[in-house]
């Protein structure tokens, strides 16, 4: 299993959960989710930098890379 596929799927699962799952509390204000694809792509950019940092941290800690 490639690392990048794992990342992609994790991200997809995260967006799906936050926006489509979870208990619906009947608030009066409905926030619009303009474009889920845009949210997804934007998050990918945001998270890939986090992931890179984590990987670097693991490497420098002599981590347990498989």
């Amino acid at each position: 299993m490639s690392r990048s596929l794992q990342h992609e799927v994790t991200l997809l699962e995260l967006v799906d959960r936050v926006l489509n799952k979870g208990v619906v509390l009947s608030g009066d204000i409905t926030l619009s989710v303009a474009d889920v694809d845009l949210v997804y792509v934007g998050l990918r950019v945001l998270l890939s930098s986090v992931a890179t940092l984590e990987e670097q941290a693991q490497l420098s800690a002599g981590g347990n890379a498989r």
Binding site: E13, L19, L31, V39, L46
Partner: protein
């Protein structure tokens, strides 16, 4: 505008995080139900941004680590004021209480198996060809369910399964103390299959927060 992250039970302390729009997290208690919220000082932008998605997810994750049970709230609704929030919680109190019982002590795992490649048959020119492709796809899915989903479902308290486009998507509600062994089982199944199967988690129990058990 009040943004709700989730309904919690036995929350030790708020996670050291800021909420959506950098607003501080706060606790509210209504008739024995506790929720974690943040107040947006700015007028509602009425749109979900990627930062909001990430922030919401991080806060809920922080709540999972610090409470006995958390029912993650779906991002996309907000409350105008405290009265409205209290009213909604009262109206849904029974259902929310049951929901907390259902997920107490549990985390969620996800499984996504990407579609099986049906190759050149995809460009089906005749009805018979199309049917054959479709049958192969269904047989492939049955195999996925039997070989990957069912063994994992047996390790879980509850599970959900969705078949989509030749692949499957599943979610599992797993007791915290079984999380490590569940993860191991999922990883060994991932390795055993030649398919693109990805197990994710542990997640807060988003997929088991709504609806009847």
């Amino acid at each position: 505008m009040i943004h709700v992250y989730g309904v919690v039970d036995g929350l030790e302390e708020l996670p050291p995080l800021a909420g959506v729009d950098d607003a501080p997290l706060e606790r509210r208690r209504v008739d024995g139900l506790e929720v974690v919220v943040s107040l947006a000082r700015t007028p509602p932008s009425a749109e979900v941004t990627r930062e909001a998605v990430l922030r919401h997810a991080q806060v809920v994750e922080g709540l999972l680590a610090r409470s006995r049970a958390v029912l993650p709230a779906q991002l996309g609704r907000a409350f105008r004021d405290e009265d409205e929030l209290a009213g909604a919680l009262r109206a849904q109190a029974t259902q929310l209480g049951r929901g907390l019982d259902r997920v107490r002590g549990c985390v969620e795992f996800g499984l996504r198996v990407l579609p099986v490649d049906t190759g050149p048959h995809l460009d089906a020119s005749s009805g018979a060809e199309y049917m054959r492709t479709r049958l192969e796809e269904l047989r492939g899915q049955d195999r996925l369910v039997a070989e990957l989903h069912e063994p994992l479902a047996r390790l879980a308290r509850e599970s959900t399964l969705q078949r989509d486009d030749g692949g499957i998507r599943a979610a599992y509600l797993v007791e915290r103390r079984n999380a490590a062994s569940f993860r191991e089982a999922a990883e060994s199944l991932e390795r055993a299959t030649e398919l693109a199967a990805v197990c994710t988690g542990p997640w807060p129990p988003y997929s088991f927060a709504e609806g009847d058990s």
